[in-house]
């Protein structure tokens, strides 16, 4: 872990006006003959947030809201169309380019969703876990690397002897542990976790969540946690951001957000979760579906589904405003119509 003096108040990661558009235009001739314009998926359309050291910041939202794109932008798998990502105050570009990215990259690692696709099936587990050590040249010599791999495997609850096996010999939960061991091998301080438990069964999900929490406490890790499951997010996070169609509609402390959701979309999401308590509460059925991010609604993208929408919401995109530490982008909240 690098020991440069940080200002504790300074966020570890800060994201400013981050935008990522994907060009999905029809081929040139179609545009010519069918009078189509270029079209873009506005996967991430201008979002800002900060992650403090040691925090778990979660991004939550329905499929296609752009949460995974944010994760990939931060680890440099995509290049931002606009905006900046700063790590310890240093602006970083994509993985394969800028020198700053190269310098900061080792501090971050990623854990992926699909435990079956995230490990190379042709490699032994020991080689998989050792890869970051070899690539970064953290240790020299086969025995040193092997013993470090053994340590890492023990840390995630596997046995050092498992290094000789191939991924297909493990269950989904065990594979996810191997993924975590690989991520830890690079000695990161910041872990980006893209739906790390959504492919797992609930009982295994609990094991992985517990493991992640334990590692965080022990190694002082900072997490960016991507999920569509509000209950999981509630359990793991210190702060939560809610995304809708490429925008961050609300972000706040976990407790505040869940106890007192302000944005109508956050309220709707919370309302849609099946009620395990069976309190018999009357739920308002949620109307409509998420529109296509290629052609999002004008103004506030949520207005077609919003019970509080009025004329202004259809034309003008709301700015994020801060209310008692809660960042909300909503005209109705701003006008005090709801809140």
């Amino acid at each position: 872990m690098n020991s440069t003096a940080h200002n504790d108040a300074e966020p570890l990661v800060s994201v400013d006006g981050l935008v990522r558009h994907f060009d999905v235009s029809a081929p040139f001739l179609n545009r010519l003959f069918e009078r189509l314009d270029r079209s873009y998926v506005k996967a991430v359309d201008g979002i800002d947030f900060e992650i403090g050291r040691g925090e778990t910041f979660s991004l939550v939202g329905e499929s296609g809201c752009g949460k995974s794109t944010v994760a990939r932008l931060i680890v440099g798998l995509y290049q931002p169309s606009a905006g900046s990502i700063r790590y310890e105050g240093v602006e970083i570009g994509p993985v394969e380019a800028a020198a700053d990215r190269k310098r900061m990259q080792p501090h971050m690692q990623m854990i992926f969703q699909d435990p079956y696709a995230s490990l190379n099936p042709r490699w032994r587990v020991a080689d998989i876990v050792a890869e970051p050590i070899r690539v970064r040249g953290l240790l020299q010599g086969k025995p040193e690397i092997l013993s470090r791999v053994g340590d890492l495997l023990s840390q995630v609850g596997l046995s050092p002897a498992d290094g000789d096996r191939y991924p297909h010999e493990f269950s989904g939960g065990q594979r996810q542990r191997i993924s975590i061991a690989r991520a830890l091998a690079g000695e990161p301080e910041f872990l980006v976790c893209d739906e790390p438990t959504s492919a797992l069964d609930v009982s295994v999900q609990a094991q992985i969540l517990n493991l992640m929490k334990e590692l965080q406490d022990r190694l002082g890790l900072t997490y960016l946690f991507i999920s569509h499951d509000l209950a999981v997010v509630y359990h793991v996070s210190t702060k939560v951001g809610v995304m809708y169609l490429g925008r961050l509609v609300e972000w706040a402390d976990t407790k505040t957000l869940f106890e007192n959701p302000r944005h109508p979309y956050t309220r709707m999401l919370l309302d849609a979760i099946p009620d395990l308590e069976m309190s018999g509460r009357q739920r308002i059925p949620v109307a409509g579906e998420v529109p296509s991010p290629i052609n999002p609604p004008s103004g506030c993208a949520f207005h077609p589904r919003c019970p509080h929408a009025e004329e202004r919401c259809r034309t003008e995109a709301p700015e994020a405003r801060v209310y008692d530490g809660v960042h909300v982008s909503c005209h109705a909240v701003a006008d005090g119509r709801i809140g």
């Binding site: 329905e62 499929s63 269950s171 989904g172 939960g173 065990q174 069964d201 609930v202 009982s203 295994v204 999900q205 609990a206 094991q207 969540l209 517990n210 929490k213 569509h228 509000l230 209950a231 999981v232 509630y234 359990h235 407790k255 869940f258 709707m268 999401l269 919370l270 309302d271 849609a272 979760i273 099946p274 009620d275 395990l276 308590e277 069976m278 739920r283 059925p285 949620v286 579906e289 998420v290």
Partner: protein
């Protein structure tokens, strides 16, 4: 537990096997349950517990080499697991409908929705083209597709995910079956759409008196929709009973652990309750109670003797802790 006479569907000692080169795998092992008319039975379990196979066996769509090795499936008093192909085909769609997980792949991309609907209607009901189309329109209307008149001639790719699942439900309802097997009907959908589809299913069942076997891994969906729930583990039923009782006061140590491992909004805990290990692969199911290696209350007896379902309060539980008298249980606790 209902008597056979009232049950719409009754599964008796069902056993499903997969012959492989390393021996025969028992994917579903001696399970029995009933579904009453109009009832929603949730079947919950982790992947590989055998819940989907049970559904497939009931409609006679087990994929070879899987086969029913033992047991009976009785629909309205008639045994259907040993029927010839043509007879079971007539039951499918007519008396038992089905809904699958992924609405994207469930519909034939080359045919319009109207063609797929009318084809199914005319297979089972004596209707001419006009009548079939009218019925198709009614169905689309009923499952909440706005502008059915216009959208009926569209192709599946022109519908969104949630709308497609509504079309799939309409297809399952074509001939007003008494029972619908819904295999993970909401898993591929977003939370907000999930809620819509569940409430639609519930409404339709209430209106038509259709029973549903709702197969899912999502306890939340079960809690929301089901009347009774069967919890499956390693091809067996661990616990079956009214949903309130199973969710709030789980008896089987597995169900108990499972409920504890689900995070809840509003109850902050530092660590989730966790069941060590994971469900054994089919070829590694231990003798005795399949849950014994992960169970905290394991006894020597659990390692040799398989527990059978026995009544406990309003539920039935397959656990030696609940053997015989209820009194003993209380002593143990």
């Amino acid at each position: 537990m209902q008597g056979d006479s009232q049950a719409l569907l009754s599964v008796r000692n069902l056993r499903i096997e997969f012959p492989t080169r390393r021996g025969t795998l028992v994917a579903v092992d001696d399970i029995s349950f009933d579904i009453s008319p109009g009832e929603i039975l949730g079947v919950v379990g982790e992947s590989g517990a055998g819940k989907s196979l049970t559904g497939a066996a009931i409609i006679g769509l087990l994929e070879p080499p899987g086969r029913i090795a033992q047991g009976e499936i009785i629909l309205e008093g008639e045994r259907i697991d040993n029927l010839p192909y043509e007879a079971i085909r007539r039951i499918r769609g007519r008396r038992i409908g089905a809904i699958f997980q992924d609405p994207l792949t469930s519909l034939n991309p080359l045919y319009s929705v109207s063609r797929q609907l009318t084809e199914t209607i005319q297979t089972h009901l004596p209707m001419n083209d006009k009548q079939a189309r009218d019925r198709a329109l009614e169905l689309l209307d009923e499952v909440g597709i706005p502008g059915a008149e216009e959208r009926i001639d569209h192709y599946p790719h022109q519908f969104s995910g949630g709308m497609r699942q509504r079309v799939v439900i309409a297809l399952a309802l074509c001939a007003e079956p008494r029972l619908i097997i819904a295999d993970e009907p909401t898993t591929a959908l977003d939370v907000s759409i999930q809620a819509q589809i569940i409430s639609l299913l519930k409404r339709l069942c209430k209106d038509h008196g259709t029973a549903v076997m709702l197969v899912t891994h999502d306890m939340g969906v079960i809690a929301e929709a089901a009347d009774r729930v069967a919890v499956m583990y390693s091809g067996r039923i661990a616990e079956i009973g009214p949903v309130q009782e199973v969710v709030r006061a789980a008896k089987h140590p597995y169900t108990h652990g499972l409920m504890g491992s689900i995070p809840h909004i509003g109850h902050h805990v530092d660590q989730l309750t966790q069941i060590e290990g994971s469900m054994p692969r089919l070829q590694e199911i231990p003798p005795g109670c399949p849950f014994n290696p992960r169970c905290e209350d394991v006894t020597d007896r659990c390692r040799v003797e398989r527990p059978n379902l026995q009544p406990a309060e309003h539920s039935e539980v397959a656990c030696h802790l609940f053997d015989g008298q209820t009194a003993e249980v209380q002593v143990n606790e």
